[in-house]
């Protein structure tokens, strides 16, 4: 299931709800991304997530489909925020259940790497004294690239 939301969500609670549904899983992997409040030199007030009215959700669906082609997943959940997300709020949740741990681990890792540099969102960091658009780093692209020759475990 995929959910693009303009309102706050609690990643831990959503994960708990996701796991309350019975399936024959032997493994669950999950990732919750939270807006960092910054560091010693800059204070992040919030992130602004801009989206495309039709293609943002489609791009997330494509990433989930690609993961489902590579690994044996039973169920998955992706929640992604749009709009203004304050520091401390959850911005993304990716979870997957599978029979075996490697499928769940790798699928969640794959989906996060692709959400970072392929999903159609645009992210602006709002600090106390300035704003700046965030683009994927070289490392983000390298993280995604490492999956290009990964056949998965299906």
């Amino acid at each position: 299931m995929i959910s693009i939301r303009s309102t706050s969500f609690n990643g831990a609670r959503e994960l708990s709800d996701f796991l309350n549904a019975p399936d024959n899983r032997g493994a669950t992997a999950s990732f919750i991304g939270t807006v960092r409040p910054g560091n010693d030199t800059q204070e992040v007030v919030s992130l602004f997530l801009e989206h495309h009215p039709t293609l943002s959700e489609k791009s997330v669906e494509q990433i989930a489909q690609d993961a489902g082609m590579k690994w044996n997943l039973i169920r998955y959940l992706i929640i992604h925020r749009i709009g203004l997300v304050d520091a401390g709020e959850d911005i993304v949740l990716v979870a997957a259940t599978a029979l075996h741990r490697r499928d769940a681990f790798d699928a969640v890792d794959f989906m996060m790497d692709h959400l970072k540099s392929e999903a159609l969102f645009w992210k602006k960091q709002i600090m106390t004294d300035r704003e700046e658009w965030i683009e994927p780093t070289q490392q983000d692209y390298q993280y995604k690239q490492r999956w290009s020759n990964h056949a998965g475990d299906r």
């Binding site: 495309h52 293609l55 791009s59 992604h80 959400l115 392929e118 992210k123 658009w133 683009e135 983000d140």
Partner: protein, 81 residues
């Protein structure tokens, strides 16, 4: 034709979307980009290598013919998660 700009392009051009009538010499998405870049203050931001084009809700190439397109969007690098 409806043109949209996303992310930092929207801010740099100070416009989110606009209607344009195509001149006869604008055939490809690249032609349109060059024309818009010359038409807007700060239009050179559209010429960055990292900018991509979406034609009728499909990520496309600069060589794509846009004569029958309804919507064209210009997007900077994406960043979710």
């Amino acid at each position: 034709m409806q043109i949209s700009y996303f992310g930092k392009l929207r801010e740099q051009l100070k416009v989110a979307s606009e209607e344009v009538a195509l001149n006869d010499d604008l055939i490809t998405a690249g032609d349109l980009r060059d024309w818009l870049a010359a038409s807007h203050i700060n239009g050179e931001c559209l010429l960055a290598n990292s900018v991509r084009v979406i034609i009728d809700d499909e990520v496309s190439t600069w060589e794509q013919n846009i004569r029958n397109a309804v919507t064209v969007a210009f997007i900077p690098p994406v960043s979710g998660g």
